[in-house]
């Protein structure tokens, strides 16, 4: 299992969403701001990442540094859209899914955590993260 995760398999079809969700390409600068935003992206609640200016980063999840070299664009898109398709037990929220949820608060019902364009923005930013975190 660990081996599979470390080296993305070549049978990548089920493991990726290769088509962008929007016509306009993602913007990495907007994506970085979303990742750091604790009300919108929420990423740093769980993940540490290369954000020297952000205190209080979580440690429930892998470091985002290097994500862009560990995974290709389609694989990252699937992980954002619905990581539970890869690991049903994942604690990572599905950022672009509204069905199959339980007791969603009224303010959030029928809405995805991020919009399609925001997913593409976050994705553009993750693809810039080529360098692994220092050990």
């Amino acid at each position: 299992m660990l081996l599979l995760l470390a080296s993305p398999p070549a049978w990548a079809q089920d493991d990726a969403i290769s088509t962008p969700l929007t016509a306009s390409p993602g913007d990495a600068t907007r994506g970085r701001a979303l990742v750091a935003d604790r009300q919108r992206g929420l990423c740093l609640l769980c993940h540490p990442g290369p954000f020297p200016e952000e205190r209080f980063q979580g440690n429930l999840a892998p470091d985002l540094a290097g994500a862009g070299s560990r995974w290709n664009e389609g694989q990252l898109r699937l992980r954002l859209v619905d990581s539970k398709r890869l690991n049903p037990d994942s604690i990572m929220p599905s950022y672009y899914r509204t069905e199959g949820l339980n007791r969603v608060g009224p303010a959030f019902r029928g809405r995805t955590v991020l919009s399609a364009q925001e997913i593409e923005d976050v994705l553009a930013y993750l693809l810039t993260l080529r360098e692994e975190a220092p050990r």
């Binding site: 980063q57 979580g58 429930l60 608060g105």
Partner: protein
């Protein structure tokens, strides 16, 4: 045979909690926050305990009876009570938590105006009664009529909910001790309630804490006093059986 059954039924509930060493949220706190809790002169929760003590002795209702008129010798009669709740309520034939019991006594026995959940009066009385059990081990009743609620509580605890699709167990069993942003995730033991939370800048109940965790995952919380909360409280008590009560605790 009848006696042994409830204990057998309780055993599986305790497994996941005992898989790792049980720790109160107190253990995760910074030294100065711990000191604030343990020093009664610095613990803001003691203000509610004092307020509760005076309410306890205050006559109310048509017969001008106080809580103390029925429950004399409070230090003895209320010692260990908080450690047993939630418990079975004969009147409503349902589980009831300590705040619910206090509100019920006040309304039906004292005939005084009802005390709402999270009202100053109910929190103060809960803190005062809870404080009489400080240091005592949590001792859920072996009453088999409580088993269905404990089981429902366990189901609610393990069910994913909200837009973020997380269960209590995923944070408090699987990731306890890790950091969610700046907060160390505690094991969710109900040892300190009602407690003074620095973030609230006031005293709050366990149900308020549970609502906070539910809205945190963008789920619709239950209404205060809902049977679902009492069920979760009963499950958490069984999971924390034997741990010492800290009322009124302090949390970040």
């Amino acid at each position: 045979m009848k006696r042994a059954l409830p204990i057998l039924l309780l055993a599986p509930l305790c497994l996941s909690a005992s898989a790792q060493e049980r720790r109160s949220g107190f253990e995760n706190m910074a030294r100065d926050t711990q000191a604030m809790q343990t020093d009664d002169t610095a613990n803001p929760g003691m203000l509610w305990v004092l307020e509760g003590q005076s309410l306890w002795h205050q006559p109310a209702g048509p017969a001008a009876q106080s809580c103390a008129s029925c429950h004399q010798n409070t230090e003895v009669s209320m010692r260990g009570v908080a450690a047993r709740y939630p418990a079975w309520d004969e009147a409503s034939a349902a589980p009831i938590d300590l705040a619910g019991r206090i509100a019920q006594c006040r309304e039906t026995r004292q005939g005084a105006p009802p005390l709402a959940r999270e009202s100053q009066g109910l929190l103060s009385l809960s803190a005062y009664v809870g404080n009489q059990s400080r240091g005592l081990p949590i001792a859920p009743p072996a009453d088999p009529r409580m088993d269905a609620a404990r089981e429902q509580g366990r189901a609610l605890y393990t069910a994913r909910r909200g837009q973020l699709d997380l269960s209590c167990a995923q944070c408090h069993d699987d990731n306890a001790g890790r950091r969610l942003a700046g907060s160390t995730i505690p094991q969710a033991h109900p040892t300190g309630y009602p407690l003074y939370r620095l973030e609230w800048q006031t005293l709050g109940s366990l149900q308020r804490r549970l609502r906070g965790c539910m809205t945190g995952v963008r789920a619709e919380p239950f209404a205060y006093g809902a049977s679902e909360y009492v069920a979760i409280e009963a499950f958490l008590a069984s999971r924390a059986q034997g741990m010492a009560l800290e009322t009124p605790a302090v949390r970040p």
